[in-house]
């Protein structure tokens, strides 16, 4: 436990976090590319057509729609947790994490909506329907964009962090609404299938779970990239930032 706490405190140090994420990033990218290569091979080529609902090839949209939708929600929950950590422990790096998740989260939400719409046309005969699942997911996109806009509207960064952290925490109410919408209301969107036993045949599970794993890692990698820029931006007055920036230049002149 004490070890875990020390780790938590170390990650609160911008310099340590910047160094560590720099070490992790190549490994995460490597694993991401392998998983996505395998995942795409199965999703686009080696997986069968869907017959029970008569979807045929359009089932392949699921392999990006489901990961994108899952990440749009998981990303928001992560944002809210980091926001609470930031407010409760006054941890500056937690606010940097909150800010860094927002663009990738917004992108995933947009992709979930876009692929859902493109999948809806051949399957349901409509691009869009104001049903509970789609409307609440659209609200999620506005929450992400609202967060970014609110954060940008303050010139004082610590005020921006606090105000937008509150938006992130309050907005998390929308997540169970998205998740349970297919159960609570009559939606055009279909009910649970991924978490429901027997609803998804094994031949669809292989591509879906590989793509889920790959997209989770890709999401993490993008958040970390954004976070590293955020750390530099927030610690521009630190000596170590100057040392980091001039490290390669020195090497060249000394050689």
């Amino acid at each position: 436990m004490a070890k875990a706490w020390r780790w938590f405190h170390q990650l609160g140090s911008p310099k340590y976090l910047f160094q560590k994420t720099g070490q992790w990033l190549p490994w995460i990218w490597g694993a991401t590319l392998i998983l996505l290569a395998v995942g795409l091979y199965y999703s686009l080529w080696a997986s069968p057509l869907e017959a029970r609902q008569g979807q045929g090839h359009t089932v392949r949209i699921m392999y990006i729609h489901v990961p994108a939708a899952a990440l749009s929600m998981v990303g928001y929950i992560a944002m809210a947790i980091a926001a609470i950590v930031g407010l409760v422990w006054k941890m500056k790096m937690a606010f940097a994490v909150v800010r860094s998740i927002a663009p990738a989260g917004a992108a995933m939400t947009f992709l979930a909506l876009f692929t859902g719409s493109v999948w809806g046309k051949p399957t349901w005969g409509t691009w869009w329907e104001w049903d509970a699942r789609m409307t609440s997911e659209l609200l999620l996109l506005f929450l992400y964009l609202g967060f970014i806009a609110l954060h940008a509207s303050f010139s004082d960064r610590s005020k921006a962090d606090k105000a937008s952290a509150i938006l992130a925490i309050v907005g998390v109410i929308n997540i169970p609404i998205i998740y349970f919408s297919v159960k609570w209301w009559n939606t055009l969107h279909q009910g649970y299938s991924v978490t429901q036993k027997g609803a998804l045949a094994p031949e669809f599970q292989v591509p879906l779970f590989t793509m889920l794993a790959g997209m989770y890692l890709l999401f993490a990698a993008l958040v970390i990239m954004r976070l590293r820029a955020e750390i530099i931006l927030r610690n521009q007055k630190s000596r170590w930032v100057m040392e980091w920036a001039t490290a390669d230049a020195k090497k060249v002149t000394h050689d």
């Binding site: 080529w45 090839h57 992709l111 999948w119 970014i148 820029a229 530099i232 920036a245 001039t246």
Partner: protein
Amino acid sequence: MTSWHEFIFMGKHGAYVWSSYLMTLVVLLGLFIGFRKMLKSLKKQVQSEAMLPSDKRQKTRKLKVSQPD
């Protein structure tokens, strides 16, 4: 999948399937390139300031990001 023809046309649904994958690629690649540029530009700004003689340096550094996110 039995043929390249089927792979490309996805049994009449090629436009739906491929536009989904293409949009995903474009959006995620866009974020990747954007974030990479952001860190590089920040590094350059710090470097160019480090080149200045110490009396010409500003007391407080003010880095800029070209894009809001």
